[in-house]
């Protein structure tokens, strides 16, 4: 059964209509013994991929491709790494992107596939001054 309703699909298609760059979602998972949420994540991503030809899903085996997981700082699954063309956007999702996290994923795709962060000029100026690494972990729940 589809997780997205026809109404959801149409709304998401509209949101994704203006992507100018190819967005690749690296989906880290495992084929045997993975968490149940990895299956949900996989289904959501597959449904999402069908809504825009600018979105590609690439499944990466977390167990067999440890080096690749380490490269992207993925230490748990399910995880999604957002790429703009082939470049890392440094945006990650840990856990199944359902509920509110689904909208956050759509926003991240729009960001990665577009040309502007949409932040205020003052914010951009402050961020441009950052020289040390900053690691943000935003905890959310599906509802």
């Amino acid at each position: 059964m589809a997780l997205l309703s026809e109404q959801d699909r149409q709304a998401v298609r509209g949101h994704l209509a203006d992507l100018t760059h190819q967005v690749t979602l690296l989906f880290f998972t495992q084929t045997i013994g993975g968490p149940e949420t990895a299956q949900i994540a996989k289904q959501i991503l597959n449904e999402l991929a069908g809504l825009s030809d600018k979105i590609t899903i690439e499944e990466v085996n977390f167990i067999l491709e440890r080096d690749r997981a380490a490269t992207y700082g993925v230490d748990r699954i399910p995880a999604i790494v957002v790429l703009r063309d082939v470049e890392d956007t440094r945006i990650r999702f840990f856990g199944a992107p359902s509920g509110y996290e689904f909208m956050s994923l759509i926003e991240a795709i729009i960001l990665a596939g577009g040309d502007d962060s949409g932040l205020m000029p003052e914010s951009k100026e402050l961020i441009a001054g950052v020289t040390n690494p900053i690691d943000l972990q935003v905890f959310v729940t599906p509802t």
């Binding site: 440094r90 990650r92 856990g95 199944a96 932040l119 205020m120 914010s123 972990q137």
Partner: protein, 57 residues
Amino acid sequence: MAFESPHIRAACVEATEFMDLTRKFRVTGVPKTIVNGTGEILGAVPEDAFVREVVNQ
């Protein structure tokens, strides 16, 4: 913010799926943002305040 700076990484973590992290960072409400493993920003803070807090951590 990650889009704007090569020095910034941003992860969205589903709190109920990763109880080890939820416990470690004492997440009792969402959204809660952890900066460099120590700093905390609680709730949905307006953009200007959020950016200032993050860059000043």
